[in-house]
Structures are given as structure tokens and as C-alpha cells.
Symmetry: C2
């Protein structure tokens, strides 16, 4: 029940941040009243969605970090793990929560990414003169584009992370 609502909310809110509670309840197959029983205010639902998205992406990045040796390998595993969560990820990027806990977790994720970028530079994987924000924005974009292309059927899921990884490092030019 609660999970069905959260799933429907992610699906609709990722596409349209202004999706109405009626739409979400209908998609979840529950009455709007029941939705309000689990999430009294709209903001409660949004916060719960953000929290779940963070849980999932943090679990994915944690797994990618855990037993990876190099930063290069970490990046690859992170892309592989996070691209299938593209809608979650995109939703997070667009929502700025006003709850302190969620803000803090988001900050932590951003710092993790910044550290990864620094490590990639140290390893000589990323060019040293690439600005950190530029690199971060492109990693974000790769995840979103890869997920979109998979969802549109233009790209086989198995190749998505590989293509994103290579494009990120080598670009689209003829090598």
C-alpha cells in the first residue's frame, strides 16, 4: 500500500514535479483518502520519495565503492548501478528538500562525487585541468541520458554503462 503509493509517486513526479495527488493515488490504485492517511501532507509524500530515492542511490554508490580498487573502477560500477535508477536520480536532482536531514544527505553525496572526481584526476583518468563542477555536471548528464536512451528503447541496458563510461572519458569524436 504505502510502497505502491511511493512507486507511483516516483514514476509521476520524475516526469512532472507538479503531478497531483489524485493522479498519484489513481496510478497507485488507491483512493486519495488513503494516500492522505499514509502521507498527511503533500510535503510528507515528497519527503518520503526523496528519502527512498536517496536510500536506493546511496546503496548503489556504497556497493560501487565497497570492493572497488581504483577510482576508475568505482566510476564504472557507479554508472552501472545508478543508470537503472535514472528516474529516481533525475527526481532527486530536481527537488531541493527543506528537511535538514535530506539536505545533509544530499550534501554528503555531492561530496562523495567531488572526492571521486579528485581521485580520478590523481589516477590520471580524468584530465587535471577539468573543473570539478564541469565534471560533476557531465557525470550527472551521462546518467540521465543513458537512462533516457534505455527507457526509449534506443540502447540496450547492458551497453548503457559502457557507452556512458566511454563517452565520458573519450567523448564522441573519432579516436
Amino acid at each position: 500500500m504505502r510502497q505502491a503509493i511511493l512507486d507511483a509517486a516516483i514514476e509521476l513526479l520524475a516526469r512532472n514535479r507538479g503531478a497531483s495527488l489524485s493522479e498519484i493515488a489513481a496510478r497507485a490504485g488507491v483512493g486519495r483518502a488513503s494516500l492522505h492517511r499514509h502521507f498527511p501532507l503533500r510535503s510528507d509524500l515528497v519527503a518520503a520519495v526523496v528519502r527512498q530515492c536517496m536510500d536506493e542511490t546511496e546503496a548503489a554508490t556504497a556497493a560501487a565503492t565497497r570492493d572497488a580498487g581504483s577510482a576508475r573502477e568505482t566510476l564504472w560500477r557507479m554508472l552501472e548501478a545508478v543508470i537503472p535508477l535514472g528516474d529516481r536520480y533525475h527526481f532527486l536532482a530536481g527537488v531541493v528538500s527543506n528537511e535538514a536531514e535530506l539536505r545533509a544527505r544530499h550534501e554528503a553525496e555531492m561530496e562523495w562525487l567531488a572526492r571521486l572526481i579528485d581521485d580520478l584526476k590523481s589516477e590520471g583518468v580524468l584530465a587535471a585541468n577539468v573543473p570539478r563542477t564541469w565534471a560533476a555536471a557531465h557525470i550527472d548528464a551521462q546518467i540521465w541520458i543513458a537512462w533516457t536512451e534505455v527507457a526509449a528503447g534506443h540502447l540496450a541496458p547492458a551497453h548503457a554503462a559502457d557507452l556512458a563510461f566511454r563517452t565520458l572519458l573519450e567523448g564522441l569524436g573519432r579516436r
Copy 2:
């Protein structure tokens, strides 16, 4: 008057597609009634904004094409011309107009981009095995990221097109 409203609308709608007419009128420094005189319905205003954005981006891409020799040069000029229009461009990407004329113009722009990508492959600038939709999505993303970084003050406007161009072709890896 009319132009002030359009400018305010682009500014606010690019950031928030659901911006209210009151906000837009206030930002333009006009009464809401006057806004309705020029654009009876919200959809009229949105269509006018889309039309102006298309005028500007088409003018930019047309100028980039006009006296450019190679497709490589066309791409470079297009990036240089369109990145400063980042907010316009981003707005267009998010709005799907239901007016036939605007849809047709958008289609034409997409086809122009597809042709450019094919030409870039013919010239050996883009790798031949890069899917067309993948390349198009990345060109879009480069424009948006570059504009965002410039707007955030992380990147000098003069370097934006150059950095975007090089990242697109060569990626972020150490070459």
C-alpha cells in the same frame, strides 16, 4: 510592453514551467489585466514564448550554417551561438507545443541536427558507431551544462563553447 511580458515569461518559465501569470506580470512590471489583453489565454503566452525562442535559436543556427565550411565548423559555431541562449533552449526542450506550426518547426530543427550529426560522421569528426540519438542528446546536454556553468559563474563565457566542443569530441579523460 508585449516584449517586456515575453522577456519576463522566458525568465520565469525557464526555471519553473508552472510559474503563475501573476508572477510573470509582476516581473514584467505590468498589471495582470494587461497581460491578458496581449495574451488572452495562458496558452497564447506560452505559444508566443515558444515562437520567440524558436526565432532566436533558428536565427543562431542559421547564422552558424550560412558561411561555415565544414560540419565541424558548423558545430563549433552553433555551440558558440546557442550556449548564451541556454535558458531559451532549455525552455524549448521542456515544452511540447500543441500548435502544428510550432511542432513542425521543432521537427525541422531536430532534422537539421540529425543531418549535422550525419555530416560530422562523414567528415570523420564523430565516430561512425555513435548512435544518432545518443549524439543529439549529448549536444543538447553540452549546451545546457555550458550555459548553467556560465550562469553560475563557474566558467568564463568566452571559454564555454570551446570547453563544450572539446568535451563533446574528446571527453574528460586524460588524452
